[in-house]
Symmetry: C2
Subunit: 183 residues, 2 copies
DNA sequence: ACCTGAACACCGTTCAAGT
DNA sequence: ACCTGAACACCGTTCAAGT
């Protein structure tokens, strides 16, 4: 890829992160192009459509989640549930600070997730290792599965940055973690 | 309201429920009007815009939630946590069968919830009574609050009818209920 | 009072022309 | 090889005319 093209691509993603973080549904491709300092056509050259742009945000976020899960792999067996909880907590904090990606997660269709399929698969592999380890140590609720983790993250995400009175996603998160752990 | 106007209003809501249940983001006001057998202008006469239509779906759903919570009030103190869980479970089942309203819940802005403010307030009042009762009976996790309930419902809703592999909103729901209960 | 639907405005996407 | 932005298409919303 030519150097100017690579730079443009990064600028477009940066503009998307900035603008989608504000009033996501209002963001127009023209605004995005202007903010990135390119023509609309250039946006479409790099990303076939608006959903593809959101897909890239989601892909990068999954990569960050995976970094957190990998850190948790270092914990010894008896701390594995704490380490898993901490990895998810740190991931949630990151997502809470990134309204643009939250928008992509929540309003994106299948194509958004298809774009991040590799990273999502890796996420599940890591989650399974951690859950198996914590289960062996007797630290998880009976019947808790690795597949529950994406649902937890999605659910918590849905309550971030919303108007609900008295809403506090961290409480919601800890409620789920409490449900995840053995009594 | 004139009889034909009332009938049109109902037809528009019925059409919204049917069409939004299919491919929500694709639904156009023209399709909606055609399905309801009225002109587009009539849709706008009854609902100032698309969001107002979604707001009405949400309002009616809150009323159904409230019915469930009121049923739970009949339970004796020692069954109050079970009754609360059951009311929420039944509410979630209803929502799972109503993709149109789920769409309204998830993609609607503040105005959607403002339209349902009365019913939402009633929901919180009922939830508070039930939570107080279950807390007195020692059946809830320490620190669990009535305000956690809307977050739980929102979170579970976000995992209904989605493409995630291995996703099962009922597991997600029971995980939250497990977090809600005393050990 | 209420309804209709052509017309308007807005915004995602394309593509012919340019470097 | 990549960029530009005017033009096009689509769809939410309005409003003049009708009953």
């Amino acid at each position: 890829m030519r150097a100017d093209a690579r730079r443009n691509r990064e600028r477009i993603l940066a503009a998307a992160r900035e603008l989608f973080a504000g009033e996501p549904p209002e963001v127009q491709m023209d605004d995005l192009a202007r903010r990135a300092g390119v023509g609309v056509g250039t946006v479409y050259r790099h990303f076939p459509d608006k959903e593809a742009l959101m897909g890239e945000l989601v892909r990068e976020r999954f990569a960050l989640f995976n970094e957190q899960l990998r850190l948790a792999l270092d914990a010894p067996g008896e701390a594995s549930a704490d380490a898993l909880a901490q990895a998810l907590r740190a991931s949630a904090e990151g997502l809470a600070d990134d309204a643009a990606t939250r928008f992509a997660f929540m309003s994106g269709g299948e194509r958004v997730f298809a774009h991040a399929a590799l990273e999502a698969d890796e996420f599940m592999r890591l989650a399974e290792v951690l859950v198996r380890r914590a289960r062996r140590a007797g630290l998880l609720a009976p019947g808790f599965r690795a597949e529950d983790i994406p649902m937890m993250m999605c659910g918590v995400c849905s309550t971030m940055g919303r108007p609900g009175p008295g809403w506090d996603w961290r409480r919601h998160f800890e409620l789920l973690i409490r449900g995840m752990r053995a009594r």
